[in-house]
């Protein structure tokens, strides 16, 4: 009887301990508290994980970026950080300080585009799961293009001469050819120039140009600057280019006064696909996407820039790395990627190829995906890749003064070379 009691007690104790072991809370700290679609998606992934792991509770704490970074800077060194947290490319301090765990063997990478994974690959290891992605695109107003009598080729890419012709025709017709403004951002003025350089040079030499290993006085670079100068001289940009803000440049394109094309990251949708009374574009706005112009004698006219935004890392000190990885795998499921596109209206690093989109902007996303077919990607916008004097020169020269018509080709090339070239 005594032994039975002991056995029953032991069973109770061990059984209880087993139940206790499953009772785990996985903590996640995320930025973008005010982005309801992203909040819903990440919370849904948490609930899905809880459903497949009885006893697991996923607790997401929502922050804005500054608050999150401050909290992480104090919590992580004290060993009190969350299991999973939001990061963005460029926050390499977490890697160098050993505060995040490599994810190569933890996460199922088959659902993530290779180019997106490569953004987080440092020293042969992958340090975060990219969720959000965007590409540089050239949006256009289909009606205005038709009024100019211009028809896009099947691949959606005009030649550099045809694009100059577009600009000239638009000005002659009293239209603003290109909407862009640099009043509050360090990059929108450089979209056309940077994409033209990428196509002309190809990914390798473009990378060398941005890292100071190729001179801006290279004849190919000078050719591109000369072409962009011809666009500027033809009146490509608005006269208030220097003070026009990013949000205003969107409205300039799709509302008033209207422009033929609008070079912008594919995060365009974040401003455009909101209700009209909140500044969004009209539902019947004839939006199209063309490729940036093909350059004569280019190394890679199928090249385009891609960049990664929101990503998630696992705390190196986490006691639940497997569960943390399971949460990242939930985020990386193709159906979550589809839901991301249909509700967040942004691109994603999660593979969604072959998926049929639904919803009010399905046609847009289908066209956007078509524009990615056959693309060779260069990862990172110049403003994120550059640093120091070179970045400052980029902002002042390539983003503002050169497209603003304040500099000639020789001056611009010289100033960029002084800021960037290390040869």
């Amino acid at each position: 009887m005594k032994s039975l009691l002991i056995a029953a007690l032991a069973l109770t104790v061990t059984g209880g301990a087993a139940a206790k072991a499953e009772d785990v809370t996985l903590t996640v700290w995320s930025h973008e508290a005010d982005e309801t679609a992203k909040v819903a998606l990440r919370e849904q992934a948490a609930r899905n994980l809880e459903a497949s792991h009885p006893g697991l509770h996923v607790k997401i704490t929502w922050y804005e970026k500054d608050g999150l970074n401050s909290a992480l800077r104090t919590a992580l060194p004290a060993g009190q950080g969350p299991d999973v947290f939001y990061v963005e490319p460029g926050q390499t301090e977490y890697i160098t300080s050993g505060m995040i765990a490599p994810l190569d063997d933890l996460v199922d990478w088959s659902n993530i585009y290779d180019w997106a994974r490569s953004v987080w690959t440092v020293d042969g290891k992958t340090w975060a799961l990219p969720e959000e992605a965007y590409t540089d695109e050239l949006y256009y107003n289909k009606d205005l293009l038709a009024k100019l009598g211009i028809t896009l080729p099947a691949n959606g890419q005009l030649s550099q001469g045809q694009f100059l012709d577009l600009v000239t025709k638009a000005r002659a017709a009293g239209m603003t050819p290109v909407s862009a403004g640099v009043g509050d951002r360090p990059y929108p003025g450089a979209y056309i120039l940077a994409e033209a350089l990428l196509r002309k040079l190809g990914t390798d030499d473009y990378g060398k140009l941005l890292t100071g290993k190729l001179s801006f006085e290279d004849p190919r670079v000078v050719e591109v600057f000369t072409w962009v100068k011809s666009l500027v001289d033809a009146g490509a940009y608005p006269k208030n280019f220097m003070t026009l803000k990013l949000g205003e440049s969107h409205q300039y394109f799709f509302q008033k006064p209207g422009s033929v094309v609008f070079p912008m990251g594919s995060f365009y949708t974040g401003r455009a696909f909101v209700p009209v009374d909140q500044g969004g574009q009209s539902p019947d706005f004839p939006l199209g996407i063309m490729q940036f112009p093909a350059m004569d004698g280019a190394a890679c006219n199928s090249c385009k820039t891609v960049a990664v935004g929101a990503s998630f890392a696992i705390n190196a000190a986490s006691k639940h790395k497997d569960l943390a990885a399971a949460y990242l795998n939930e985020l990386a499921k193709p159906e979550v990627g589809k839901q991301w596109i249909e509700t967040v209206y942004l691109q994603t690093a999660v593979k969604t190829g072959g998926i049929q989109f639904s919803g009010p902007y399905a046609a847009y996303f289908t066209e956007l995906m078509d524009r990615q077919k056959g693309a060779t990607y260069f990862t990172g916008m110049p403003v994120d890749v550059l640093s120091g004097q070179c970045k400052d020169s980029f902002v002042q020269v390539m983003n503002k003064a050169f497209p603003g018509g304040l500099l000639g080709v020789d001056e611009a090339v010289k100033m960029m070379n002084e800021g960037c070239y290390k040869g």
Partner: protein, 318 residues
């Protein structure tokens, strides 16, 4: 309630242990420490340590994870002899400061004189001229960026409307006009402040002196130059010094309106320090600290020089 005058005699004669007579000489060291301690801790933490740390950083190259290596005066050498952008920023800041300070104080004085001379609608004008002082730089900057806009800005619209369309400009987009455009905005914001200070000083002037001048048939210009301005001199000197120091550290308005552009035409030393510290995708806080140290020394030197030059050697009596 009549105020009590405490003389050194009465303080010295206060009986020991009288609680009402606690003073610096009678309070125990513990009491003094209890009162001063918290303030000193806050001062040390938020003023003294950052200043010392900035001096320390200026002699180092600071890397990630707070690692730093001693480089002596290398940052200062680089700054003084090899940094064209720094000298561009110095030139802009000095231009902005000198022109802005003179215009600020003179403009404020003129507005105050206008109100002092009982101009019509004086109360209304006082409110209108002072209102911009109450606005934040962010609001002022945004308003004036709109006003300066090439296409739909009020300034170009008026120019076109009155037939002076040939003079329309991208006011903030042209390196030749951008600094002046920012300066006008700054004056618009601060003239009201200088006006109020000058006006208060004008009302404090002894009426009998001004009355005597009028009895002596002193004209308004002579009265202004020989009586009012000399008597306002201490106020004007204070305004000049305050205005000077404020403009030498100009950051927010430039940041909002032009971000230092176009082509560094509005770059000030403060915006350059910020960019070097936080916008260059670099961890190094040593070089920006060197700029901050050098500029602080220059500001102190200028203020001392200015105060000495403008100091009143003979005290006015009235």
């Amino acid at each position: 309630m009549p105020s009590e005058t405490i003389t050194s005699e009465s303080r010295d004669s206060a009986p020991a242990g009288d609680a009402s007579a606690i003073g610096a000489r009678t309070a125990s060291r513990g009491t003094i420490a209890a009162f001063l301690g918290p303030v000193l801790v806050i001062y040390a933490g938020f003023i003294f340590y950052p200043v010392i740390r900035t001096f320390y950083n200026s002699l180092h190259t600071v890397g990630p994870q707070n690692t730093s290596s001693f480089v002596g005066f290398q940052n200062f050498t680089q700054l003084l002899f090899h940094d064209a952008t720094f000298w561009r920023a110095v030139g802009n800041t000095v231009t902005f400061t000198v022109v802005g300070t003179v215009a600020d104080v003179l403009g404020g004085l003129l507005l105050a004189l206008c109100l002092f001379s009982q101009a019509p609608f004086g109360r209304l004008l006082r409110v209108i001229w002072f209102t911009p002082v109450l606005m934040s730089y962010v609001v002022v900057g945004i308003i004036w960026v709109w006003l300066y806009d090439y296409d739909w800005g009020l300034i170009n619209t008026i120019l076109r409307w009155i037939g002076l369309g040939a003079f329309e400009q991208s006011w903030l987009g042209d390196p030749h006009t951008a600094l002046w455009a920012v300066l006008v905005t700054h004056l618009w914001k601060w003239l009201g402040f200088n006006m109020i200070i000058c006006l208060a000083a004008l009302y404090a002037l002894p009426g009998e002196v001004l009355g005597a001048a009028e009895l002596d048939a002193c004209g308004w210009f002579a009265k202004l130059v020989y009586i009012i301005i000399p008597m306002l001199r201490p106020t004007l000197v204070n305004l000049l010094v305050l205005s000077f120091v404020g403009k030498m550290m100009m950051f927010d308005l430039v940041w909002i309106m032009t971000d230092g552009g176009p082509l560094w035409a509005t770059e000030t030393v403060s915006t350059y320090v910020y960019k070097r510290a936080f916008n260059w995708n670099s961890f190094d806080l040593g070089y920006p600290s060197a700029i901050a140290v050098l500029w602080s020394v220059m500001i102190v030197a200028f203020v001392v020089l200015m105060t000495r030059l403008l100091r009143q050697r003979e005290r006015l009596e009235f």
